[in-house]
Symmetry: C2
Subunit: 371 residues, 2 copies
């Protein structure tokens, strides 16, 4: 009987073999491409996995919260980029300053004159200098300056000349790769991602800014190429785990997904082809996954304990109930593994990960929480 | 300058005045109706709010996880119903046994012969008796037995005669009230909820089962009536906070919503009528809210610091970014309050709640996490 029948459910399982393979593959590709490898840790928020991403070292990382930055700094990571535009609030600036005093480099991100002014004012009052990237919009239209707008050149030049900030370069994220339906579409977005930064850099060079560093990164765009070009740094994150979404749009094979949520059937209703598991919205997250490819995708892929997909869809989630619909008859007490739609959001629901290897639980890791 | 400009964002704010009012109103209605008041604590998972629900006492409660049951038992709550069908796993049964030894009563829920057998077997091996409700489906079609199926009568009779369980009665949840579009629809569901239990009870009475207790509860169905009838116990939960969903379907007024997420604008793009705030999917949850009423509802209602709605929609959420779209110009650094779609899921994202009263932070409460 598998150890998976003994674990308390719901549980977040990480397959160590698959995790190690995903981590090694991306790292080797970055090294072979001669670019700086600065993986994102937001997907797992775990210092153990941060080190696996760097083959044991506490190498350069990207974070999505200051809480991640603080936890990884405490664990020995010395070069950290906080890749969400910094809120120019007193408490956040204070925390960045404290971090900067403690590690080699903490880079932050801005995309407005207003944020630049806030940093300069704080830097002047506190006798410090911030390391700052300019966030550039490469077509995702979430955050970032428009690289074709003259104001963006003006902002970059202002950062380069500022006494309060050290200009670290240009940073972009091709989040619209997540809207792709297949590898070809992802490849077009990848070209747009690196192309827009390179063109903007050329524009800055004509203004005398020299060779601004280009930092790019999204797991889809970095998964579909063997060699990273037209960039100086890559920041993939989700690739450590992958998920049902990434497998569907072609970033990875289904076998590359390292994580699943172990759940127990608590209600069985074969007469209406339905069952209830003890993994609801607070275990899986309500991410709809690749619903642009299949509007009826459901909230994850239901599998047996050997990760063979079952003919069951997760049709609805309430707080602690997952409603499965389909023809498999799953008696009360049956255990299933659910491959999550979006591993970043699902992992964050758990206070601990069960690390498994060849059917045994070999470790338990705890992610960072909060902001 | 409001304290809301100093708090670190994102933050989960609970307005104490509104919370107290919501709690008092529901409790008084239950008392006036002469039914047992067993509020659900899953929405807030906080022992402080559990006591406010009972006007300071550690009264009967309903929980959605054993972790909640254990934390509330440790705080002095003595009568607890775990209202998710129990997974018949060894670890869960052990935990229920430990709880039962510690408090006056822990009731669990089943809806199958298989679960009954598992309980009986465990009870016999461990010299104990479980307090058990039969979960009945009143039309929601999530969990529960079909009250019109003779097998359901057979299961209830088996529970009543069992030596391993004490039959506690019939329990249902009209979750389909959440699919209603207005108060009239909610009222029809409410009639179905109590009606189906009463009819099933009558059926059991003809088999000699006497007066089985009827436990009902959903915030919509319990919010639209002044008097609870055709039931013996009510289990509302969401009413302590309410949310954008409940206000839209008519369970409450917008002014009755006690919670909001404080966020800071970190990117401002008036040229494309957009802004980014530092509250993403990990702060708000990806619950779509009342999208059956308005498919373009967005991930919450964006308000100013005085909770006046702004002409901005939350069009998309990524992990730490909320993308606002609309005509309000919100410069970087602006603070907003977001009324969440589903307060249960949003509250669970935070490790602490900032309790505010008349513009001051008066307390900080910590919810239970995990399972």
């Amino acid at each position: 009987m598998s150890i998976l029948n003994d674990l308390s459910t719901p549980a977040f399982l990480v397959d160590r073999t698959v995790l190690n393979r995903n981590c090694a593959r991306m790292r080797e590709r970055a090294l072979a491409s001669g670019v700086v490898f600065r993986p994102h840790v937001k997907t797992h928020k775990s210092v153990e996995i941060g080190r696996i991403q760097h083959d044991g070292a506490a190498g350069p990382i990207t974070v999505s919260t200051l809480a991640e930055a603080e936890a990884f700094a405490a664990d020995g990571f010395r070069d950290i980029t906080y890749a969400v535009p910094l809120a120019p609030s007193r408490d956040k600036l204070d925390r960045v300053r404290a971090l900067a005093a403690r590690v080699e480099r903490v880079s932050v991100l801005i995309d407005s004159e207003r944020a630049l002014q806030a940093l300069e004012q704080y830097a002047a009052s506190n006798g410090m200098v911030f390391d700052v990237f300019l966030k550039v919009d490469c077509g995702y239209h979430r955050a970032g300056v428009d690289p074709s707008n003259p104001d963006s050149v003006h902002l970059a030049m202002g950062m380069a000349r500022s006494e309060g900030v050290r200009f670290q370069g240009l940073l972009t994220h091709a989040g619209h790769s997540y809207h792709a339906r297949d590898i070809e579409e992802v490849r077009r977005v990848a070209a747009e991602e690196s192309g827009s930064l390179s063109r903007f850099r050329a524009l800055l060079a004509t203004e005398g800014l020299g060779e601004a560093r280009r930092s790019i990164g999204s797991t889809p765009t970095l998964s579909v190429t063997d060699r990273f070009s037209d960039c100086d740094e890559v920041r993939p994150g989700n690739y450590v785990f992958y998920d049902a979404f990434q497998a569907t749009i072609g970033s990875c094979a289904f076998e590359d997904v390292a994580v699943s949520v172990l759940a127990t059937v608590v209600g069985s209703y074969p007469e209406r082809e339905a069952a209830i598991v003890d993994a609801g919205a607070l275990a899986l997250s309500k991410d709809l996954g690749p619903d642009h490819v299949d509007p009826k995708f459901g909230y994850g892929i239901v599998c047996d304990l050997d990760l063979r997909p079952l003919p069951m869809r997760i049709a609805a989630l309430s707080q602690e109930h997952g409603k499965l619909v389909g023809e498999a008859h799953l008696p009360v007490g049956t255990r299933v593994r659910i491959v999550p739609n979006h591993s970043c959001l699902t992992a964050a629901m758990f206070d601990k990960y069960a690390i498994i290897d060849h059917g045994r639980v070999v470790d338990e890791w705890r992610p960072v929480r909060g902001w």
